[in-house]
């Protein structure tokens, strides 16, 4: 698998990263290096081995249906660049 500049530009857009045009080439090279490294995993024979979701022996923990959290709007909003009347304020996004 090899990434070209256009794909890197798209990945950047999807991640909302602004990548200067002159950096695309170098970034593609770096990402291709990482992909190549990951692709080595494909050499391992996994025929007949069920996919592993986690290497820990844990089971998914379930919680009871009880309200134990929330009611702290000032904390939820503490990092918001802008907040009014308990709402987060963001640049207008409208369809």
């Amino acid at each position: 698998m090899s990434l070209d500049k256009a794909t890197v530009r798209k990945i950047g857009f999807l991640a909302r990263l602004e990548i200067p045009e002159e950096d695309l080439e170098g970034l593609a090279h770096e990402l291709n290096g990482i992909l190549g490294w990951v692709e080595q995993l494909a050499q391992v024979d996994t025929e007949g081995v069920a996919p592993v979701a986690s290497v820990s022996q844990m089971k998914l923990f379930w919680r009871d249906d009880v309200v134990t959290d929330g009611n702290m709007p000032e904390k939820a909003l503490a990092n918001a660049p802008e907040a009014v009347d308990g709402y987060f304020l963001v640049p207008k996004v409208v369809e």
Binding site: A53, F61, R63, D65, V66, D69, D85, K92
Partner: protein
């Protein structure tokens, strides 16, 4: 079978419809956090750190939401997958602080099932369910509070949703409407979603395409977030017509996401379509597979209530009412309960007619729900008995019913107090008949001369003279005997 066909210049077109319904799960807390899942509340008060995307927070699944999803799957006669996987669906939006929605992609909790539609003409039709999966809801954006800003409330962010996907099995707006009604009824019977489309706890995405009958499927368009059954039907009508026009003018339909404009009754492409979503699903590394035992499923199965289809069949068998009437009565759980309470020990067919006719009309007129009915169910049973044992005539019963609506009184009390008892005393009826005939000698002569039609006029006059209380059978016979001998 419905026959919804659009006649185009190039021949008949068939509409193909599939629905994706987002149903908010009834639970106390959210799917992965301990914040309240209750509708409303002051903005951003039902928010845990996980829900607003604070770093380092981990999701922990709510057992009740799993139970509710399994229960719904069983209610849809669907395959329950005892192992399912949560994935991240990645996209950026201001009301999605995590930057992804936790959802299920390749391995949903519920697989294929079926739902039976009850159509207006009394026929039934089966529609396939493709899958049901669990996911989290996004927050809510308000766009009308400020000229350049949107307001974000995350109270809804993280609330559990069931996305229920149908197969593309529907062929008309009516079928799509019947599907939503039936699905909503099942959810309400199960108590897994309140089905309230106004508050957004049930929302539909509508997939529409058209084709000449027999052709393979053509390209579909998805109309997002339609929030009433009527709008869904209108959106389908408009969208199907649009496809036909595009094809017949030699154009092509591109797969796209559209929005329904309920004021203009049209659909339009979403402006963001040039940034077509690329969700890059991958298994959520914060969540292990969701697994449960056969016993867990069986316990839920044992707790299922009687569902609309079973209730409908029982009503037909037990009460002898028609499948159509039974379908109407079971559509809402509360109506079914009311009917059963009213029919208990009385003529069920007559009770069904009163409930679906005069009671529905009265509730409609007064804008009341059946749970707020001024007429108690047992009083409808009593009213039916009063007609049956000839205490009152069917005509007087209508008046008595209206008084029941106004006062909430029992019919026997009303009949007693207002002297509405039917007159069956032949002597009293004879007296009235004699008076009417004596007052109209010319008309009586005409009847004797063969003008049978006037008999009805005499019956009407005599009934009026008795203030509607004469037994119609006795009255009729008496007039015939007096005039025709």
């Amino acid at each position: 079978m419905s026959s919804y066909i659009i006649q185009g210049e190039t021949g008949p077109w068939e509409v193909v419809i599939g629905l994706e319904v987002h149903a908010q799960v009834i639970s106390q807390a959210k799917l992965f956090s301990g914040a309240s899942a209750t509708f409303g509340g002051e903005p951003n008060t039902h928010v845990a750190f996980l829900d607003c995307g604070m770093p380092g927070m981990l999701p922990v699944i709510n057992a009740e939401c799993v139970r509710q999803a399994v229960k719904t799957g069983l209610g849809l006669n669907a395959i329950i997958n005892r192992r399912s996987i949560f994935d991240r669906k990645n996209y950026f939006y201001a009301d999605l602080p995590l930057g992804y929605q936790i959802s299920q992609f390749a391995h949903p909790i519920v697989g294929e099932g079926t739902i039976i539609l009850d159509l207006k003409d009394g026929t039934s039709r089966e529609v396939g369910i493709e899958r049901l999966h669990l996911e989290i809801d996004a927050g809510k954006s308000l766009h009308d509070q400020h000229p350049t800003k949107s307001f974000i409330d995350l109270n809804r962010a993280g609330v559990a949703l069931m996305e229920i996907v149908s197969k593309p099995d529907m062929r008309s707006p009516e079928e799509a409407g019947a599907y939503l009604k039936k699905l909503r009824a099942i959810l309400r019977y199960l108590g897994t979603c309140d089905g309230n489309m106004d508050e957004g706890s049930m929302r539909a995405d509508v997939n529409v395409s058209v084709r000449h009958p027999g052709e393979p499927l053509r390209t579909r368009c998805e109309i997002k977030n339609v929030n009433s059954i009527r709008f869904v039907m209108q959106a389908i009508e408009y969208e199907a017509q649009r496809h036909v026009e595009v094809y017949e003018q030699g154009g092509i339909i591109e797969q796209e996401t559209r929005l329904f404009d309920s004021a203009k009754i049209t659909t339009r492409p979403m402006r963001s379509k040039e940034f077509a979503h690329d969700y890059r699903y991958f298994p959520d590394p914060d969540l292990l597979p969701l697994e449960f035992s056969e016993e867990f499923v069986n316990e839920i199965k044992a707790s299922l209530p009687e569902l609309p289809d079973a209730k409908k069949a029982r009503f037909v068998g037990e009460y002898g009412i028609s499948p159509y009437d039974a379908g109407v009565l079971v559509a809402e759980k509360e109506t079914a309960m009311f009917f059963e309470a009213a029919a208990e020990g009385h003529d069920a067919k007559a009770v069904a007619n009163w409930v679906m006719g005069d009671l529905f009309a009265a509730l409609n007129r007064t804008g009341k729900d059946i749970t707020e009915s001024p007429v108690k169910p047992e009083n409808i049973g009593k009213l039916v008995d009063l007609i049956k044992d000839d205490t009152i005539s069917g005509r007087i019963a209508k008046d008595v019913f209206e008084i029941m609506v106004e006062t909430g009184d029992a019919p026997d009390k009303i009949v007693e107090e207002r002297g509405l008892k039917q007159v069956t005393d032949t002597g009293a009826i004879e007296k009235v008949v004699d008076e009417v005939i004596a007052a109209n000698p010319d008309k009586a002569e005409e009847v004797r001369g063969g003008k049978d039609k006037l008999l009805g006029w005499f019956v009407g006059q005599a009934m009026k003279a008795s203030q509607g209380k004469a037994n119609p059978g006795i009255l009729n016979e008496m007039i015939r005997k007096k005039l025709l001998g």
